[in-house]
């Protein structure tokens, strides 16, 4: 049967990579005595796939993975048994049975909601920051350049921003929330948005904590 798991990845596990996380889950399933289905002939790999890799350094409260398990088990039982085998920093929020007909999780992620908390060198002014963001969003076009090996590519990020809002500001600290598109139609990272804000405001960000609040899936159930 195919299961969908919603989980969070909090401190200090924001420092482990996506590959590390895959290994962590495979081993946790084995410890829990839940057999994963296998794919591939010569070097069989467990059937477990993640919606969208979370970059190293980010925390999240709404990640998804899908796993094919061999035995028919009650999703609640899977949640209980697996939770018992997970280290501090990962917790399962929900386990549901997924439809076998659904297309892959990865192909269904359309956008993500992020919260970024940051500290600055200079004192922040809430109205000024809000104004910066407002002006940014009013632009018809906003190009950024991405470097991939030797190629540089220019993209317009305005259509990729669903929403961008200053949530709070407190002298040297600020918080912004951003709803950003991802997937085949192009994607933008929260770091890139922060760099633009840094440049436009202008300010010097000394420390930022990125948290993914939610993944939006389209299609399927």
């Amino acid at each position: 049967m195919k299961l969908r798991l919603k989980f969070s990845k909090e401190e200090p596990l924001k420092f482990i990579s996506h590959l590390d996380l895959q290994r962590l889950f495979t081993r946790a399933f084995r410890r829990a005595g839940i057999k994963l289905g296998l794919k591939g002939g010569f070097n069989p790999q467990p059937k477990i796939s993640f919606a969208l890799a979370l970059p190293l350094g980010c925390t999240s409260s709404g990640e998804y993975l899908e796993a094919e398990i061999v035995d028919e088990l009650n999703p609640q039982e899977v949640k209980d048994r697996l939770s018992f085998q997970l280290p501090e920093g990962i917790s399962i929020k929900e386990v549901t049975e997924a439809s076998q007909e659904d297309s892959s999780l990865t192909s269904r992620v359309s956008s993500c909601l992020y919260r970024v908390r940051f500290q600055t060198e200079e004192s922040l002014n809430v109205n000024k920051l809000k104004e910066t963001v407002k002006k940014l969003l009013q632009r018809k076009e906003l190009e950024i350049t991405r470097q991939k090996k030797k190629k540089t590519k220019k993209i317009d990020i305005i259509p990729l921003i669903e929403h961008l809002e200053v949530m709070s500001v407190n002298s040297f600290q600020g918080e912004v929330e951003m709803h950003l598109k991802t997937g085949a139609g192009g994607s933008i990272k929260p770091q890139e948005i922060m760099s633009i804000i840094e440049k436009e405001a202008p300010l010097t960000i000394t420390n930022k904590k990125i948290h993914r609040k939610k993944l939006f899936l389209e299609g399927g159930k």
């Binding site: 596990l13 420092f15 590390d20 081993r27 946790a28 010569f42 085998q85």
Partner: protein
């Protein structure tokens, strides 16, 4: 003030592989340090990804943490980027469990696996704010202790280590803890009084209780106890039976990172009596002691249950020598199959039996087979007592090819005693014959994949406590010439040749055979920025040369000198249980080109280790019979 933990978390996004420094892995033992009496930091002088794979460390970690009043925590060498950040932010070297500075522990124990990690030890002490030299430490500093194979010549690190623990650690470490409890309860709490107490234990060596002497020519003369009451010789510790000693199960930590040996290591036996004359481990870990199949099966299932690992490796110095290895593999496979766990063997003997074993193990994916003929001619293989014939090698390779393997890895050594260019040519000829064997056994057109032979050569290092301890190492120029020779001859579309850094082999020889004066060189080299010397890219050989010059010692006089059989050796005071007489006899036989057999196969060769009172039963049988499918 920020805690070490907070400071660390703040810098981790700026370093490579931050998961090296976060701890919190599955099965980590976290105790409330306010509620324990003894805190032990177990330190591995290498980066986390390497150090986490070490079995001995896991054993001590689990064993100590089993004691209610003791907390054992792990410490690894921070990589360059992390070290820079730590120094910049004033972060002390810390343990991964509680983020406690190493200087706040009662003990800081290092494992000495390789001589080129010694500068890392000094660097770790420095990062921890602990005085580097034993004599400069005070009451509040931890006791800095060391064990492991390289500790069998303790002299090069004698100035920095308060005391050494030699041999199997499972029993003696707890005896040391008992002494510590006793010492804490008594009035005289000087460091020296504790050192005196542990010096009474078998297997413990306190360097500061001994003085080194040199002759007028600057050669090592002797090492003698300062007090009449101090024992001349330190005996290594041996545990009589592996079934009875502790093995980590619940405390088998599962790392987040992909470490070098990311699997369960099931030690099926300790020791090896094959008697290769260059091999130090073969002497140090004697005698052979096997774990019973029942115990192994029980451990395997428990550890997999606790870790969820996908692979279990049957480790030892020569795993196909385990009595009844084949039924063991089959039983483990049967027990673990349902859990989707692979059983693997780390290395293979050069014989048909081993290919058959590999066939049982690598059913689907035939990756590669590794063999170690060590030398290129029969003559030289006889000198080193590697009882492998060319016929063995060819038939083994042929069988491997027939069974479907395309990739063979071969290990050779260069610079072995008595080696001539003919022996190098022998390596080339052997490889060519194996290529020929492939063409003879398989029809290449019908074969999927291409033949690949990987040849790796290391350079012979004369190691203490081996029959070759008196032999010189070849010069750096010779190493380079021999490697060049092989590089030129081992060219071809199917061949890959790897060689070991000559400077690293040279330094390894110098330090391995070093006396107490080498401490000063190591100190100087560290001061000049040497660390991670075992990494080819980071070894700063010119600085080491400068360090030798600065101290006034010639490295060549340690590495490239033939030592007389009569001379006192800087490690003579450490007794491995194997007599010096036996080593000398083996040395003599080697020069005559005479081999001796495995004592489990034929008769006892009188090495002396079984005379030890702790040893009662050592025999096992070596299976060579054909395996029936």
């Amino acid at each position: 003030m920020q805690s070490i933990r907070e400071k660390v978390m703040n810098i981790l996004l700026e370093v490579e592989k931050p998961a090296r420094y976060i701890g919190n892995e599955w099965n980590t033992v976290k105790k409330d340090l306010a509620r324990v009496d003894i805190k032990v930091a177990l330190a591995f002088p290498e980066v986390y990804d390497l150090g986490m794979s070490h079995l001995g460390f896991k054993i001590l970690y689990g064993l100590l943490n089993q004691q209610e009043d003791i907390a054992a925590e792990r410490v690894y060498a921070p990589w360059f980027d992390m070290e820079a950040k730590m120094r910049d932010q004033g972060i002390s070297l810390f343990s991964l469990e509680s983020f406690l500075s190493v200087k706040d522990f009662d003990f800081l124990g290092f494992t000495l696996q390789y001589e080129l990690t010694y500068t890392n030890i000094l660097n770790m002490l420095d990062l921890g704010g602990i005085p580097l030299k034993s004599e400069d430490r005070h009451r509040e500093d931890p006791f800095v202790i060391a064990g492991g194979p390289s500790a069998f010549n303790p002299e090069p690190m004698a100035e920095f280590i308060d005391f050494y623990v030699l041999g199997d650690g499972e029993e003696v470490i707890l005896e040391i803890m008992d002494k510590y409890r006793e010492w804490k309860g008594q009035e005289d709490k000087s460091r020296k009084s504790f050192l005196k107490m542990v010096a009474e234990l078998s297997g413990v060596y306190v360097p500061s209780f001994y003085q080194d002497y040199y002759d007028t020519g600057g050669n090592f003369e002797k090492l003698a106890p300062l007090d009449a009451g101090t024992s001349q010789v330190t005996q290594k510790r041996m545990v009589p039976s592996l079934d009875e000693v502790f093995y980590p199960v619940k405390s088998w930590i599962v790392p987040y990172l992909d470490i070098v040996h990311d699997r369960v290591m099931l030690e099926i036996f300790r020791g090896c009596t094959r008697g290769c004359r260059f091999c130090q481990a073969g002497i140090l870990y004697r005698p052979v002691r096997e774990r019973s199949p029942e115990k192994l099966k029980e451990l395997a299932c428990q550890i997999i249950g606790e870790t969820g690992y996908e692979e279990i490796s049957l480790t030892s110095l020569s795993s196909s020598d385990y009595s009844n290895i084949q039924p063991l593999i089959r039983e483990l496979q049967a027990a673990l199959k349902d859990k989707g766990v692979r059983v693997t063997l780390p290395s293979l003997r050069v014989d048909s039996f081993s290919v058959q074993l590999a066939k049982i193990i690598q059913k689907l994916k035939k990756s590669s087979l590794t063999f170690a003929p060590e030398a290129g001619t029969q003559r030289l293989r006889d000198v080193i007592n590697k009882n492998v014939s060319e016929e063995n090698l060819m038939s083994t390779a042929g069988e491997a090819f027939r069974e479907g393997w395309n990739h063979i890895k071969l290990y050779f050594m260069i610079g072995l005693p008595t080696e001539t260019d003919e022996d190098l040519e022998g390596i080339v000829n052997t490889v060519k014959k194996i290529v020929g064997q492939f063409k003879n056994t398989v029809v290449e057109k019908e074969r999927k994949g291409r033949l690949k032979i990987t040849i790796s050569t290391s350079t012979f290092v004369p190691k203490p406590h081996t029959p070759f301890q008196w032999e010189p190492q070849i010069s750096l120029e010779e190493m380079k010439r021999k490697q060049r020779y092989l590089r030129d001859k081992l060219r071809g579309r199917n061949l890959i040749y790897n060689w070991h850094n000559p400077e690293a082999s040279f330094l390894e020889a110098v330090i391995s055979r070093g006396d107490r004066r080498i401490s000063k060189v190591i100190y100087k080299a560290w001061e000049m920025g040497c660390r991670f010397d075992g990494w080819d890219n980071y070894l700063k050989f010119d600085r080491w040369q400068e360090a030798f010059k600065n101290v006034g010692l010639e490295p060549e006089s340690y590495a490239n000198r033939k030592v007389s059989l009569e001379a006192n050796l800087p490690w003579d005071h450490i007794n491995t249980g194997v007599s010096k007489k036996f080593l000398a006899k083996q040395y003599k036989l080697s020069l005559e080109g005479k081999t001796t057999s495995d004592c489990r196969d034929q008769c006892c060769l009188g090495c002396g280790v079984c005379e030890h009172p702790e040893i009662n039963e050592v025999k096992g049988e070596i299976s060579t019979d054909e395996i029936k499918a």
